[in-house]
């Protein structure tokens, strides 16, 4: 198949699932007539009608709750957060009802829904539009959290997320929508609970996800030239973390660097490090290193912004430094 943009890969996923299952529908701000701020639902309302591609008023808490009620009664909603940050307004519905209701109801209801949209630091979008909500939501029980990073995995993961019977927060990255890739002509799914080994290596395990995967791969190019052999793992599932894959890698490399776009404090890396500490402390030849965004709201100024997030150069340096450590 011709090269597909990531936003189109997502659109294909939605289109295929809506075609396959009539209970699947999309709702959110400007998903219908406008086609979605990042064109992920472009023209779908013409194909499926206004109820299945529902333009909502700007009322995040309530339309999220509405989707939950629809999911409880048999539909499979996909919420588009025009920007995932806006879902801060829906935190109560997401945490209490999407996350906890199944348990609290003793299994009476299940809530098959996907909440998807762009997160992350873009190009000078300002603090509120540059949030990394995965950190804020990771402690909520009952949610699955997934981050896609390539057109291939975006499509396959989104299809799996839509079929999952649990609420899935599905993070896209505002700067990755225009990535291009050849996609298979046949239908495929990518499991949402498995990390992806992007590059096998033996020196050090680089754990990352979303846009930082690409920063890591940029760093790897340099590292390869310099004779290093890092293993790169895209977490894909931010909750739960796929420790099978990670653990196997650590047994091989004994060194771990987590590269994330979250702020350092209580980011995704914090939980990963704590879990590694729980599970394979003795395997480590060096303390796990976390390369995270600075603990600050994202500044608008371009230079400050670039200092805020992790750059490939820092990853190169960190790997070299870690490899230089005497064990």
């Amino acid at each position: 198949m011709a090269e597909t943009f990531l936003f189109n890969a997502l659109r294909e996923a939605i289109d295929e699932e809506m075609g396959r299952d009539e209970t699947v529908f999309v709702l959110g701000e400007d998903v219908g007539h406008y086609g979605g701020s990042y064109k992920v639902t472009k023209d779908l309302y013409q194909k499926y009608g206004e109820l299945r591609v529902l333009d909502t008023p700007i009322a995040e808490n309530s339309f999220t709750g509405m989707a939950i009620g629809a999911a409880m009664t048999g539909l499979r909603p996909i919420i588009e957060g025009m920007n995932m940050g806006f879902l801060l307004l829906a935190f109560n519905q997401i945490a209490n009802n999407a996350g906890m209701l199944r348990y609290t109801s003793g299994g009476n209801y299940k809530i098959p829904m996907v909440i998807r949209g762009p997160g992350g630091v873009g190009r000078q979008l300002g603090a509120e539009h540059s949030q990394r909500l995965e950190a804020y939501f990771q402690a909520v029980p009952g949610l699955k959290i997934v981050a896609c990073s390539t057109p291939y995995n975006a499509k396959g993961l989104l299809k799996s997320a839509i079929r999952d019977d649990n609420p899935v927060l599905f993070f896209e990255h505002v700067l990755l929508y225009n990535l291009k890739e050849d996609l298979p002509n046949h239908e495929y799914l990518v499991p949402i609970d498995r990390a992806e080994i992007v590059r096998s290596g033996k020196d050090v395990t680089l754990l990352t996800y979303s846009r930082m995967r690409h920063h890591v791969m940029q760093a790897v190019k340099t590292l390869e030239k310099d004779g290093f052999d890092p293993e790169v793992i895209d977490l894909i599932s931010l909750k739960p973390i796929d420790f099978e894959t990670i653990g196997a890698s650590i047994q091989k490399t004994h060194r771990v660097i987590v590269v994330e776009e979250c702020m350092r404090t209580a980011g995704i890396a914090a939980e990963i490090i704590a879990s590694i500490n729980d599970r394979c402390f003795d395997e480590l030849d060096a303390p796990v290193l976390r390369l995270s965004s600075q603990d600050i709201p994202t500044p608008y100024n371009g230079k400050l912004e670039s200092f805020t997030i992790v750059q490939p150069k820092q990853i190169v340096e960190a790997v070299k430094k870690m490899m230089a450590l005497q064990v």
Binding site: N61, N97, T104, N108, Y109
Partner: protein, 342 residues
């Protein structure tokens, strides 16, 4: 400071209720009342814990609305949810067992008083945070419309009834949902149980416009003010609203003027409400009022009503016994139900 609104008059004669229907309503109200009285007893005896919010005094609302619904319609409640669950058909024993935290409870002992659920009865749940049930009910109504209009299922005409209090109508979710319900003509009935108080906050101190039913108008929704102590009045208003919703004409907001006969929860010292106020409303007890009506209209005789009371007494006794004897959930299942099973 707390002003009295005149309760709207309802011409009981216009109700044209059958004896059967009357007894059905009466039985449901008695069940609500007796069940709650027993809860208070059990709470003080240490059989149930946490925040327990009883419904005494408001029975006409639950019975009047829910008993007008079909079994396949949806009901959505708050933390004050026992009686709504009962009216919706959740067996008293399973509600009581839930309050005891037992595996046989309607939420398998995981939920407790503020989190009653029963998918079998389309009871969408008790919601412990105010207002958060409104969007959920809206979702059930949306689902109904979706099936009918997007999927062409002509028999998808289920209505959702959503209950909440006066205090909750100051919360954004209330307004957001009124708008969406009206915009998409969703089959939902918003039932405000205006019992004049939100814990210790008098309704008039929390809202700039105490007549809640008037707020529906600016969304293009019919707003109805009803004597919430008169089950026939509630019943009539509910029937109209349900018919409208079922016909695809959209939502209705029904403001029921009512009163709770007990404190906010069993932990509330209930020191804010004046004795006079309580007495005035106690005099409007919806249960006595309806009982008198049934007798007066000769829709039932004393023995019949007595038999119903006895039956309900037995039901509640049995519910307690069932709850007591039921097992706790197994600790082995502590992590079950976090995620949907495969």
């Amino acid at each position: 400071m707390v002003q009295e609104r005149t309760l709207p008059m309802f011409q009981a004669a216009s109700a044209q209720i059958s004896a059967e229907e009357g007894l059905r309503l009466f039985e449901d109200m008695v069940l609500g009342r007796y069940f709650e009285d027993r809860c208070a007893e059990m709470y003080y005896r240490g059989k149930m814990f946490g925040f327990v919010h009883l419904y005494n005094g408001q029975e006409a609302v639950s019975s009047g609305v829910i008993k007008s619904l079909r079994p396949d319609d949806y009901v959505c409640s708050t933390y004050r949810d026992h009686v709504h669950a009962l009216s919706a058909g959740v067996p008293a024993r399973n509600v009581m067992a839930e309050l005891f935290g037992k595996e046989t409870g309607c939420s398998r002992g995981r939920g407790g008083s503020m989190h009653l659920f029963s998918s079998e009865h389309n009871f969408l749940g008790g919601f412990a945070f105010i207002g958060e049930g409104i969007p959920v009910a809206l979702g059930a109504a949306f689902q109904s419309k979706y099936r009918r209009d997007a999927l062409g299922q002509n028999d998808a005409d289920q209505v959702a009834a959503c209950f909440f209090g006066d205090g909750t109508t100051n919360n954004g979710q209330f307004f957001e949902c009124l708008n969406m319900a009206a915009l998409w003509k969703l089959p939902i009935i918003f039932v405000v149980e205006n019992n004049k108080w939100a814990i210790g906050m008098a309704h008039e101190r929390s809202t700039s416009q105490p007549e809640i039913y008037r707020k529906a108008g600016v969304f293009g929704i019919p707003g109805v003010e009803v004597d919430g102590m008169d089950v026939l009045a509630v019943h009539a208003a509910a029937q109209t609203a349900i018919a409208r919703a079922r016909a695809g004409e959209g939502p209705t907001l029904i403001e029921c003027l009512t009163y709770r006969f007990r404190g906010h929860s069993l932990a509330d010292p209930d020191e804010m409400r004046s004795k006079e106020e309580k007495q005035a409303w106690q005099a409007r007890d919806p249960l006595s009022k309806f009982e008198a009506y049934l007798l007066e209209q000769k829709l039932a005789g004393e023995p019949e009503l007595k038999a119903i009371k006895q039956k309900i007494q037995d039901t509640v006794d049995e519910a307690v016994k069932f709850a007591e004897e039921s097992p706790d959930p197994s600790p082995d299942e502590l992590h079950r139900y976090v995620f949907a099973e495969e």
